[in-house]
Subunit: 165 residues, 2 copies
């Protein structure tokens, strides 16, 4: 079971957008360059985030992305679901109904204990990610927050950020 | 993010092996037929369970599978890890080190908050599955345990089970 790399990229992109001054945005190409990843693939993640209402793109000459809602209302689960889709990872195909001793539909009104256990585990997973907002992760996402490094990031943002209408 | 179907199959197969009388086993083909799934694919899951020390195969004319350790010592996480592998689903590629503001190695001794949050969520997922043993799921895995149905399963097991040395 593997989570697409795009989840990592999207989470880091959203964290960087959270560091933007008010009224500013970043173009997809800036976000790709900042993270050292291919532009088209970063653009794809941003489109998925946009579709999910996590970022919004401003149109026009200075088009750029910004967060679509307050950072404390955007969780890592929101980002994961935007990129990977919200479907459960465990798919129950009801094999208990198969074969020579297949259970009858009337005996299968509730999920079996195996499916229920996997769903409970996924709920625990989601709840854990839902409890982490962009605000929670802001502190050390760019490393251990060396002052010099944060200053570099700030200068880069000043240079790259575009004004949004 | 999808979990392979084999995890469902392996979990149901292990649950059925747990219902065997002592000293008995089931051949891979019987387990496949019981669950109405292709023999070679069920055999593949059983080999993975065997490699992980969850089931053991008896050799010889009456070769069959049985659980390799007590059912209360086999969790759904053990089964999931046997089939999917134990690697984390979230892979951190350290993109914070990339690009024009890449963090220096000395600033990256700890996982970043994004990686740490995904790892914490996976820990919650694993703990949830580790808390469910084959004993916990035995009760209603074959449906809602209609008496008649359990009798059918018992009869089928009597007929199909092979004696192990």
């Amino acid at each position: 079971m593997q989570i697409a790399k795009g989840v990592e990229w999207a989470a880091h992109a959203a964290a960087l957008l959270n560091a933007l001054p008010s009224g500013k945005g970043l173009r997809a190409e800036s976000l790709a360059r900042y993270h050292g990843v291919p532009g088209p693939y970063m653009a794809k993640q941003l489109q998925a985030l946009s579709k999910a209402g996590i970022v919004q793109a401003a149109r026009g000459r200075h088009g750029g992305y910004r967060l679509a809602r307050p950072a404390n209302e955007i969780s890592l689960w929101d980002i994961m679901a935007a990129i990977e889709g919200p479907a459960p990872a465990f798919t129950c195909t009801e094999i208990r109904r198969n074969g020579p001793c297949g259970a009858k539909p009337a005996e299968c009104k509730r999920p079996c204990a195996i499916a229920a256990s996997f769903h409970a585990a996924e709920t625990a997973y989601r709840e854990s990610l839902k409890a982490k907002s962009l605000v929670d992760i802001a502190v050390d996402v760019v490393g251990e927050s060396a002052h010099e490094h944060l200053r570099d990031v700030g200068r880069w943002l000043e240079r790259e950020a575009v004004s949004l209408g």
